[in-house]
């Protein structure tokens, strides 16, 4: 039905610096695309251009093969869920959902059938006569979803729809949204700055930074093979450790094995995810193979959360703070010094000048 295709899309707000620059990607029919990036990187701007709420300064946006650059929001056949839900405060839940259908002159019997169906799916049946202010945050969020689905649009657009909910509800709604989107099969574009939300929802993840796309791909492939330092540090929690290497491969005190790496002339940054640092058990060093990296850390703090333990330590005793993540309980006393090993296949190397990935 509806594929969304962006070609070299750019946005400049009233003569100032560009908010969004030269963005090209497409979301296949029925796909769930998540735009993720830090605050101010232009996610909302891009989404609002797709919705038709902002003009498109450059490039072209197509929805199911139709160029929509100058098409009014109402004629783009999209529905949007806003961060503050934007429910009409003077209308009942029923009327909020029916409003878009009434504007399109849908016959009343069909309206009530569709609203009833949406209310059933979203478990809103007991609240149809209430006003938005008489609902909890989670219920309001569901009404906003209901308003989008009754319209049966070609594309759903979400702008941080869960950011006003508490952590527990956010987790539950995340699952609901994913289920609903699968069930309805509607192409969706979802904006968030929460990388966990992004990873769990997306079929296709678009990581943005300062108005440009850093990388596009499936969540796990971005996690396993980040193309830039930015993506490497943005995706994954706790974030990837980054260690600066000199052009010859020399690293800071406490780092061993880095001279084997193909460090470019401009120097490099070595990335190691916390879970890829394996600690030597007492007296039993991890067997190393050529190309593996060994780090000596002075343990600073240990956080045991049950299933796993985060170990924060200083490289070479007083250097860079490095985080390691180990399975199970591992109660190392602070102050002790331990050696951690990272396998060659788990290392990420980036050019220090360009920030781009270098193959090992």
């Amino acid at each position: 039905m509806a594929e969304v295709r962006l070609t070299s899309v750019g946005k400049i707000y009233s003569g100032a610096v560009p908010a969004v620059k030269d963005i090209t990607f497409s979301v296949p029919d029925g796909g769930f695309c998540v735009l993720v990036g830090p605050s101010g990187c232009g996610k909302s701007t891009l989404l609002r251009m797709i919705a038709g709420l902002e003009t498109i300064t450059m490039g072209e946006i197509r929805i199911s093969d139709r160029v929509v650059n100058t098409v009014e929001p109402m004629d783009r056949d999209i529905a949007m869920v806003f961060q503050n839900y934007a429910l009409y405060p003077h209308m009942s839940v029923y009327d909020n959902m029916a409003y878009g259908l009434r504007n399109r002159k849908t016959p009343e019997p069909e309206i009530s059938a569709r609203v009833a169906e949406a209310a059933r799916i979203l478990e809103l049946e007991p609240y149809l006569e209430r006003r938005p202010r008489e609902l909890s945050g989670g219920q309001r969020q569901r009404v906003a979803m209901g308003r989008a689905i009754v319209r049966q649009p070609q594309v759903f657009l979400f702008d941080e729809p869960l950011s006003n909910l508490d952590a527990k509800l956010r987790g539950a709604m995340r699952v609901e949204i994913k289920k609903l989107q699968r069930q309805l099969g509607v192409t969706s574009i979802y904006v968030t700055h929460d990388q966990l939300e992004a990873m769990t929802l997306a079929d296709q993840l678009v990581v943005m930074n300062q108005g440009v796309v850093e990388q596009i791909g499936e969540p796990l492939s971005l996690y396993e093979r980040p193309e830039t330092v930015f993506v490497a540090q943005f995706i994954g929690a706790p974030p990837m450790n980054m260690i600066d290497l000199a052009p010859g491969g020399g690293g800071p005190k406490g780092l061993d094995g880095s001279s084997e790496l193909p460090v470019p002339a401009s120097g490099a940054r070595l990335g190691i995810r916390p879970e890829h640092l394996v600690v030597d058990e007492d007296g039993r060093p991890v067997p190393t193979r050529p190309g593996d990296i060994r780090l000596e850390l002075a343990v600073d703090a240990v956080e045991a959360v049950g299933a796993e333990t985060y170990i924060h330590g200083r490289l070479g005793g007083d250097g860079l703070m490095i985080t390691a993540r180990e399975h199970g309980k591992m109660l190392l006393p602070p102050g002790t010094s331990r050696v951690f090993t990272a396998r060659r296949e788990n290392l990420h190397l980036f050019d220090a000048a360009t920030g781009r990935r270098v193959d090992i």
Partner: protein, 293 residues
């Protein structure tokens, strides 16, 4: 120690309320009571003898054809002024809101002088329509319009309606603008995506959300028309020609000050007060229930 703080706690609310209460008592309850008392008295023209006459002043009032004329003039006048003042200011506020959207507090504050300007302009405006001296009046006559508010009652009424509405517009405008600016932009955007064109957006989203403001202004404007317009009428038409612009409040003023009929004038103001209280009560009972959300 404890006793002292207890004492201060008791007195503080009264101390804070006192100025308010004092103003209300001195400027409202006392004159109102005086008016009621006065309306039962008959005073001779020189103010020498005063007689308690019960409801005679009221009987005279309700058998006076001029009084009924004043009632109908007031009805027409208040409807026209309120409708004009509210609709023009709403129109202006909607336009201002469009250009101020997202402009920030600083630019919004810049518009304030523009909102106050009509009050000054209103005075000039009256001069311009003055039949013998006013430039606009002469211009109208030049185009063959026989403009003379001193002789033509229609001209006279439209002139005071315009002048009275004009004075109220800036006040209404500021309230409407503040009301419009407090409607989240995302509501309008949601409605746009929901397929509502601008006019429909206005009537189904913006206007209902503005209705508490509109209701407040309606009440304020009606009170204004009833009480606060006699200055304009006095300045422009003196209630004439032939009572065509004599509203209830102007008649109170005219009969009492100029005619010396203090008892009759007091009876009129008591009736006027009753009408306004009744109107306000009706507004609160029937309209407010609809505008709350």
């Amino acid at each position: 120690m404890q006793k002292r703080s207890y004492f201060a706690g008791r007195m503080l609310p009264y101390a804070l309320l006192a100025p308010q209460l004092l103003v209300t008592i001195v400027f409202f309850y006392v004159p109102a009571a005086q008016a009621v008392w006065q309306s039962f008295l008959l005073q001779d023209a020189f103010g020498i003898s005063t007689e308690f006459v019960w409801f005679e002043n009221y009987q005279l009032l309700f058998s006076d054809a001029a009084y009924y004329q004043a009632i109908s003039v007031t009805a027409v006048f208040s409807v026209l002024v309120t409708v004009a003042a509210l609709s023009i200011s709403l129109l202006l506020a909607v336009q201002a809101d469009k250009s101020l959207r997202g402009a920030g507090v600083y630019k919004t504050l810049l518009i304030w002088p523009y909102a106050v300007a009509p009050v000054v302009a209103g005075v000039l405006w009256l001069f311009m329509f003055q039949p013998s001296l006013g430039t606009l009046a002469r211009g109208l006559r030049h185009f063959g319009v026989d403009w003379n508010p001193y002789l033509n009652s229609g001209d006279a009424l439209s002139l005071v309606v315009l002048a009275a509405a004009w004075k109220q517009i800036s006040y209404n405008f500021l309230f409407f603008l503040a009301g419009l600016q407090s409607i989240p932009k995302s509501l309008i955007e949601a409605a746009a995506i929901d397929g509502a064109r601008p006019a429909r957006r206005f009537w189904t989203i913006v206007f209902p959300l503005l209705s508490p403001t509109a209701f407040y202004l309606l009440t304020v404007n009606i009170v204004y028309v009833f009480f606060d317009t006699f200055g304009i009428i006095h300045a422009v038409t003196h209630g004439g020609p032939a009572g065509a612009t004599t509203t209830l409040v102007y008649k109170v003023f005219n009969d009492g000050r100029a005619g010396g009929d203090l008892g009759g004038s007091a009876a009129q103001s008591v009736v006027l007060m009753a009408i306004v209280i009744a109107l306000t009560a009706v507004q609160f009972r029937f309209i407010e229930r609809k505008v709350n959300y």
